[in-house]
Symmetry: D4
Subunit: 252 residues, 8 copies
C-alpha cells in the first residue's frame, strides 16, 4: 500500500501522471457498483481468499447479477452462502455451471482448488442434526483450499464415540466443533486437542436452547483454553477462520 502510494506520487513528480489522475487513482473504488450492491473485486488480492456472496436477504436476481459481474471480471471460485433452494433454482437458470448443495445451502461457481494448507481441518458435530451447518463449514473450507475430515455425531452424551477417534483429534491442524443443545463438545475437544478450536453453536434443540443461545453461551464460557467462537449456525465463518489459520505458514 505504502509502495503503491509512493509509486503514484513518483509518477506525479515525474510528470507521468496528472494531478487529477493521481487524486482519482488514490480514491479509486476497488469494486463494481450494481446499485443494490458494491461488489468487491479486490478482496482476493487484499485478503487472499475466494470471493463470497452472502445470499440471505438478497433476491435471486441480485445474486445472479453479482455472480455475472464477478464472472465478467474473472473472479473464481466464487462462493454463495445461505442461498435456499428456491433462489438456487432461479440462479441456476442464469448460471447453469453453478454447483449447488442444498443441505449446506451453498453454491460454488468455478473450480475448487487443491488443498494447500498446513494440515487437515477436522469438523466434528455433536449430533446428526448439526450436519447442515457442518457441511457449510466443510464446503467453505474446501473452496478455500483445505483438506477436510468429517467426524459427525460424536457428542459428549456418548463420549466414547469421540475418544474412539482421538487420533483424528490429535492430528488435526484446526478443529471446528459444531454443536447445539448444551454445546459441550467444544470444551471437551478444547481440553483434548493441542490445536486451535473454532466453536460453532447451532440452533439445534428446543425449549431452553433458545435457538442456539444455550450453546453459544456454553462455548463462550468454555473452561478449555484455545477455543474461539463464531455466530450461531455460522458454518461459513468457522470454515473461513479455520482456513486462514491452516494457511498461516504461507503468509510471510
Amino acid at each position: 500500500m505504502n509502495t503503491e502510494l509512493k509509486q503514484i506520487l513518483e509518477a506525479v513528480k515525474a510528470g507521468d501522471m496528472s494531478v487529477d489522475d493521481a487524486a482519482l487513482k488514490i480514491k479509486e473504488e476497488p469494486f463494481v457498483d450494481l446499485g443494490y450492491a458494491k461488489v468487491d473485486m479486490q478482496r482476493k488480492m487484499r485478503q487472499g481468499a475466494a470471493e463470497v456472496v452472502y445470499g440471505a436477504g438478497k433476491t435471486a436476481e441480485q445474486i445472479s447479477g453479482i455472480l455475472k459481474a464477478m464472472k465478467d471480471r474473472g473472479q473464481s471460485p466464487v462462493l454463495v452462502t445461505r442461498m435456499d433452494s428456491e433462489k438456487a433454482a432461479v440462479v441456476l437458470k442464469e448460471h447453469p455451471d453453478l454447483y449447488y448443495n442444498g443441505q449446506a445451502r451453498i453454491g460454488i461457481l468455478g473450480k475448487v482448488p487443491e488443498p494447500d494448507g498446513i494440515g487437515r481441518i477436522v469438523i466434528a458435530t455433536g449430533g446428526t442434526s448439526d450436519i447442515p451447518v457442518a457441511e457449510e463449514a466443510a464446503l467453505t473450507a474446501e473452496v478455500l483450499g483445505n483438506e477436510v475430515l468429517r467426524l459427525y455425531d460424536v457428542g459428549v452424551a456418548g463420549i466414547h464415540r469421540l475418544l474412539a477417534h482421538m487420533e483424528y483429534v490429535m492430528d488435526a491442524s484446526v478443529i471446528i466443533a459444531i454443536a447445539g443443545m448444551e454445546g459441550a463438545l467444544a470444551s471437551v475437544i478444547g481440553g483434548l486437542a493441542d490445536c486451535p478450536v473454532i466453536a460453532v453453536p447451532t440452533s439445534v434443540g428446543y425449549g431452553a436452547s433458545f435457538n442456539g443461545l444455550s450453546a453459544l453461551l456454553s462455548m463462550l464460557n468454555s473452561c478449555a483454553s484455545g477455543v474461539s467462537v463464531v455466530n450461531i449456525d455460522n458454518g461459513f465463518g468457522a470454515g473461513y477462520c479455520a482456513s486462514q489459520i491452516n494457511h498461516m505458514e504461507a503468509k510471510k
Copy 2:
C-alpha cells in the same frame, strides 16, 4: 390422612370428641406461628426429612427464634442454609451448640445421623471455585443420612481427571454434578453414568456466564438422558433431591 380423618369422625360419632373439637382438629395448624414465620413442626412426619431453615432474608434474631421454637419441640437435626458468618456469629451466641461451616454457609443443630441410604452420593465439581456450593450439597446430604464422596476439580477441560475416577462414577447411587462457566460436566457425567444425575449450575465465571445463566442453560439442554437440574448455586436442593433418591428403597 384418610385414616386420621376417619378416626376423628369415629370419635365424634362415639361421643369421644365434641363437634367443635373435631372441627378444630381437622383444621389444626401443624406449625408454630412466630408472627414473622410459621414454623413447620410436621414436615419430618410428612416428608421424612430433617427440618430446614432458609437463612437468607431472615435476620439473625429470626433465625435464632425459629431454632429455639424447633429445639423446644424436639426437632433434630435442624439445618440452616445460606447463613452468612455475620448472622452465624449472632446465632451462635444464642445457640452455642450449633455447628457452623462458613464455606458452605450452613449451620447444623443436633446430631448428624448415620448414613442409611441405598448407596453413595458422589459430588463432582468442575473446578475449585465450585467447592462452596458442593459443600452445601455435601453437608445437606450428610445431615439427611447419606454417605458422600467428594470428587472436586474434575472439569471437562481436562477430561482425564474425570476418566481417572470412573470407578466412583460407576459405583455411585446418585451423582451431583456441579459446574459454572459452560457447565459441560453434567452432560459428560450424564453420558458416562448409569444412575440419576442432579446438575447444579454455579455462578462461577465472568462475562457471558451471566452469573450462572450459561451453565444453567447448558445443563437444561443436556443431550444426556437422566439429568435434572436445580437452581443456580442451589447446593442444598441438589443434596436434598439426591437424598430422596438415595432413600427410595426405604419407602414402601
Copy 3:
C-alpha cells in the same frame, strides 16, 4: 470396566491376544457408524435402559436407517422421540411394526416391558394443553418398565382438583409435575409430596410466558425442596429420570 480391561491384559500376557488386537479392543467402538450417525449399541448394557432415537432434526430416512441398524442388532424396545406425523408416515412404510402416538410424537419399536419399578410414577398436568408433553413422559416411562398414573388438569387455579387426589400424590414413587404458564403446580406438589418430584415446564401460554420461560424459572425457583427440573416440553427427559429413580432398588 476395570475387570474387562484386566481380562484383556491377562489375555495379552497369556499370549491369547495379540498386542494389536488388544489395542484395538480397548479402543473398539461400541457403536455402528452410519456416516450421519454413530448408533450406540451398548447403552442398554452400560446404562440399563432402552435405546432412544431423538427424531427432531433427523430426516425420516435417517430415522429409518437407525431403526434398521438397531433391529439388525437385536435392540428392543427402541423409542423414537419428537417424530412428527409426516416423518412417522415415511418411517412406518419401512417399519410397519412401529407403534406411533401422534399426540406424544413418539414411536416405539418392540415390546413394552412389564412394570418392574419400585412403585408408581404419577404424572400430573396443570391443564389440558399440557397433555402432549405428559403423554411423551408417560410413554417413555412405560417403555422403560414403569407403572404410570395420569392425573391431568389439576392446576393450582382450582387447587381442590389436586387436593381431591391427594392419595395418589401420597402413594407415588416419583411424581412428574407438568405445567405451563406460571408453573406453580411443581411447588404445590413439591410441598405436599414426600417423594422426588421432576418438574417439566411447558410452552403452554402466551405473552409473558415467553414460550415456557416463565414456567421454567418458576420451577427452578421452587420454594419446595426435592424438586428438580428438566428442559421446557421435555417429557421424555422427565420420564427417563423418573424411571431411573423408580428403579433404584434394583441397582446394587
Copy 4:
C-alpha cells in the same frame, strides 16, 4: 372540570374577570415549583388520596423541602416511600413529627385516618423475607384508610399454612399476595379467593430468580382469573391499588 371552566367563562362574560386573568386561571399550575420538584397540591382533590413522595433518587434535603411545602399548605397525611434510614435521619431533624418505619422504609407525616373502606385488606406473604415489602403495602393501605390483616409466611411449599387461614382469605375485600422465588402464592390465592387479588413479586431469591423476574413472570402468567400485578417489590403500589378498590362504594 367542565363546571370550573364554565364558571370562569361566565365570569369573563359578566366582566367579573379580565381576559388575561381568565387565560392565566385556565393555565394555572396546580403545584408548587421547588425547582427540583413540582409538588402536586391538588392530587387529593383530584384523586382522593393522601399525598405521596417517592423518596428514592431524591436527597434528604429535597425530601425535607417537599415535606415543608406540603405542610405549609396543609396537606396531611403525607407518605414518603423508599426512604432509607440515612435519609430518614436527616429528614427527622427537620421534621421531628415524622413517623418512620425502617423495615418498610416509609415515613408518615400527619395522622393516619380511621379505616373507612368496604372491608378488610389481607396481605399475605410467601415467606419471612417478603415482610419488608408487605409492610410497605400495609402501611400504605393504612395511611389511605384501610383495615389490614397480615398473613405472613404462608407460601405454597407448605400449603396447609395457607389453608389453615382460609377464613381470612374468604372474608377479604382485597388480597395482596406477595412472594419472591417462584411467586406461586398469587395463583393459589387467586384460585381460592372470590375477591380481587393484587400480586407483588419480590426480589427475594437467588440464581434464576433474577432479582424477581421469576416471580414477576409467574404472576403475570397466573392461570387464576382476577389477579393483576404490580412492579417487583412495589408494596406501595399494591397498597394504593387495594385501597382504591376497597373504597369503590364511596365513589358515586
Copy 5:
C-alpha cells in the same frame, strides 16, 4: 365453609350421616372429570362469576365436550376465550346456539346478563391495532354483568384525543388501558383518573417492542399510582379483574 363442615359433623353426630359418607362428602370433587379436563362446576358458587373455558391448546372436540358437560349441568353463561375461527366452526356445529366473535376470538353460550355493577368500565386503546384485545376485554366484562364504554385509538402521540374525552375518564368506575408499542397510555390515564386502572400491554408493534415486552415493562414501571397490570394481550384477565372491582359493593 366452616358452616358446611360443622353441618356435616353435626349430621354424623346425630347419626344422620355415616362416617364413610361424611368422609366422602368432605373430600367430594366439585368438578366433572372428562379425562382430558376436570371441569369446575362450583366456581360460580365459589367466586360468583360465569364459567370460563380457555380455548387455546384445547382441540375443538375438547371444547365441545366441556361445553356439553356444562350445559348438561345448567351452567350459564359460559365464556370460551382464545378460540380461533377454525375451532369455532367445529364447535358451532355441535353448539349452534354459541355466539362467536371472531375479532375477539370469544364464544358465549347462554344469555349475557344485565349490567349490575357499581358503574361503567371504560376500555381505552392506544391504537386501532389494539382493538381485538380490547374487544376480548369488553365482551368478558359484558358477560360478567358490566356496562362498557369503548374509547379506541386515543394513544398519547395525539394526547388531545384523550383529553377530549376526559369526562369519560373522570366518570369511569374502572378503566382498562390497552396499548402496545411503548404502552404510555396506562401512565397518562393513571395520572388523570381517580379510579383503578388495569393496564393491558399488547403485542402490537415491531422491532424493539419484542412482542409486547416493551409495553409490559412500561406499564409495570408506571409512575402513576393505582395501575396494575395483566399479561400481554390478556383482554380476558383485564375484563375479569375490572368486573370484580366493579362489583365490590355487592359483596358483603
Copy 6:
C-alpha cells in the same frame, strides 16, 4: 395557542361567542372519529408535516376508510407505512390514485412536494439486504420535502466502499445509517461526519443478531458522538427525524 385561546375569550367578552360555544370550541376535537380510529386532521397544522397512517395491524378496509376521510378533508400528501402488498391490492381498488412501493411497503396519496430542506439527506446501508428499510426512509423523507442521496452496500467489512464516497458523507445535511448484523456502520459514519446521524438497526442477520437486537445495542452504545437511534427496521421514523432536522432553518 395562547393567541387562539385569547381570541376565543375576547369573543366571549365581546358577546360574539356564547359561553357554551366557547367551552365547546376550547374542547373541540381536532380529529374525525371513525370508531376504529380517531383520524388527526390538524397534525399538519400543529407539526408541519404530511399525514401518516401506520398500516400494520389495520385491515385494508380500515386503511381505505382513513384515506377517504383524509381525502374528503383535503389532506395531501398522505403517507401509508407498513402496508403489505395484499392490503395494498385491496386499498388500490378504492384508491387507484395511490402510489404503492412494495419494497418499502409504502403508499403515497397525493403529490410529493419539491425538496425545500436545508441540504441533502444521505441514506447509507451496510448491505443489500438493508435496502427495504432504506427505501422506507427515503420515500418518507421525499414525501416530507427532502432531497435524498442513496448510498447502499457500504458496510464496514469493506470500509474502502465508504471511504470512496467520503464527499457525500461530508456534504450531507443529515445522514441516516442503516445496518443489521453488528451495526458498526453508524459508529464509523458518526466518527467521520460532522452532521447529525440517525442510526437505524435492521433485523438483517441470523443467530446472535437476535432479530436486530445486536445492531440496536451497537448503535445505542456508539462511541461516536452525535448518533441517535430509532427502533429496529424503523425506516419511517428515521426519515421523519431527518426531515425535521433538515427543515430546522425554516422554523422561526
Copy 7:
C-alpha cells in the same frame, strides 16, 4: 479534503514538497499519542465541536495527562464527562482552572461560549431523580454554544405539570426528554411538539425497570414520530445531538 489532497499533490508536482514528505503528510496522524490514548487534535476542525474526554475507565492521571496535552495545543473549551468526584479531586490539583460539577460529573476546561444556535434547547425530566442526567445534557449543550431551558419534574403521572408549560414546548428548537421508569415522557412530548425530540432513558426506577431497559424500550417504541433515542443515562450524547441540530443553519 479533496482540496487538501490536491494541494499536496500540486506541491509535489511543483517540487515544493518531496515525495516522502507528501506520503508522510497524507498519512499524518491528526492526534497526539500518549501511549494510553491517542488524543484527537483535529476534531474541532473536522466536526466543529469542543473536545470531549470520556472520563469513565480512565485514571485521574490519564485524564490529567490528556487535558495537559490539549491545553498545550490550545484546545478550548474541553469537556470531561463521567468523572466522579474522587478523580476530579486529583485532576483539580493539576488543573485548578477546571470547573467541576459533581451532580453532572462533568468538568470543563476553558471558557463556555455564548449561545449561537438557532433557538433554545428545552431539557425536560420526568422526575427529580433524573436531574443528574439532565444536568449532564444541559452543561454539554451550554459548552457547545446553546441556550438551555430546564423543565424538571414534569412526568406524565401529573400531565398538567407539562401542559402548564406548553409554551416552552412549542417554542423549543430541540427538546431533550429525560425519564426513567416507563419513559412515557418522550412519547407525550413527541406528540405535542413540532421540533426534533431526543429521548434519554435513565436508570431511575427499580424492579422491572431493569436499570433503564424499560424506559429505553419505551422510547424506542414511541408511537410519536420524530423521537430518536440515545443510550441509557447518556445526557452527554443527547446534549451533543441537540446542539448539532440547533446549529444546522450555520452549516452551509
Copy 8:
C-alpha cells in the same frame, strides 16, 4: 498416545511389566491431587503451552499451594490469571519470585521465553479503558513465546487513528481486537486485515452496553469474515488462541 499404549502392552507381553502395573499405568492420573484442585502436570506435554492457573474463585492459599506443587515438579513458566492485588500480596509472601502485574491482574512464575512464533501479534483496543484486558492478552501471549505490538485507543469513532497504523495491521500474523461499547473495531479490522482476528468484547461502557453484551453480540455478528470471538473481558483466552495460531508452523 497410541504409541504409549502399545509400549505398555508390549511391556506386559514381554513380562517387563505386571498386569496390575499396566492397568495402573493406563489409568494413571497425570495430575497432582491437592484435594481442592487436581493440578495438571502434563498439559505442557500434551498441548505445548505454559501452565495456567485461573485465579478467580480460588483463595490466595489455594493459589500458593498450586504454584508450589508446580514449582516442585519443575513446571515453568506458570501463568496465574485474574488474581487481584489482595490475593497477589499474600501469594507474593510465599513466592517472592512471582512477577505480578496489577493492571492485567496476572502473575508469572518463571522466565518468559523468547518469541518463537510465525510473526507478530498485534493487540488493538478501541479505547483507553480497554487496556487492562489488552494487557492480560499481551502478557499471556508473551509468556507463550510471542512478539506483541500494542496499538491502543484506535476505536472507530476516529477511524483515522486506525488507518494511520495500517502497516501494523497489514503486517500482523494475528490481530486481537479489543473493544467495549459497540465493539465495531473488530469488524473494521476484520475488513482491513488479511490475517485471523480474535475479537474480545469488554465490559467497558454503561447503560445498554449491559456489561459487554452489546460488544459481544456485535463481534459475533461481524459482517467481516475471519473474526472469531472469546468471552467478555477474556484477554487471556484471546492471547492463548492467538499464540496457538502464531505457532502453527511449528506443529508438524
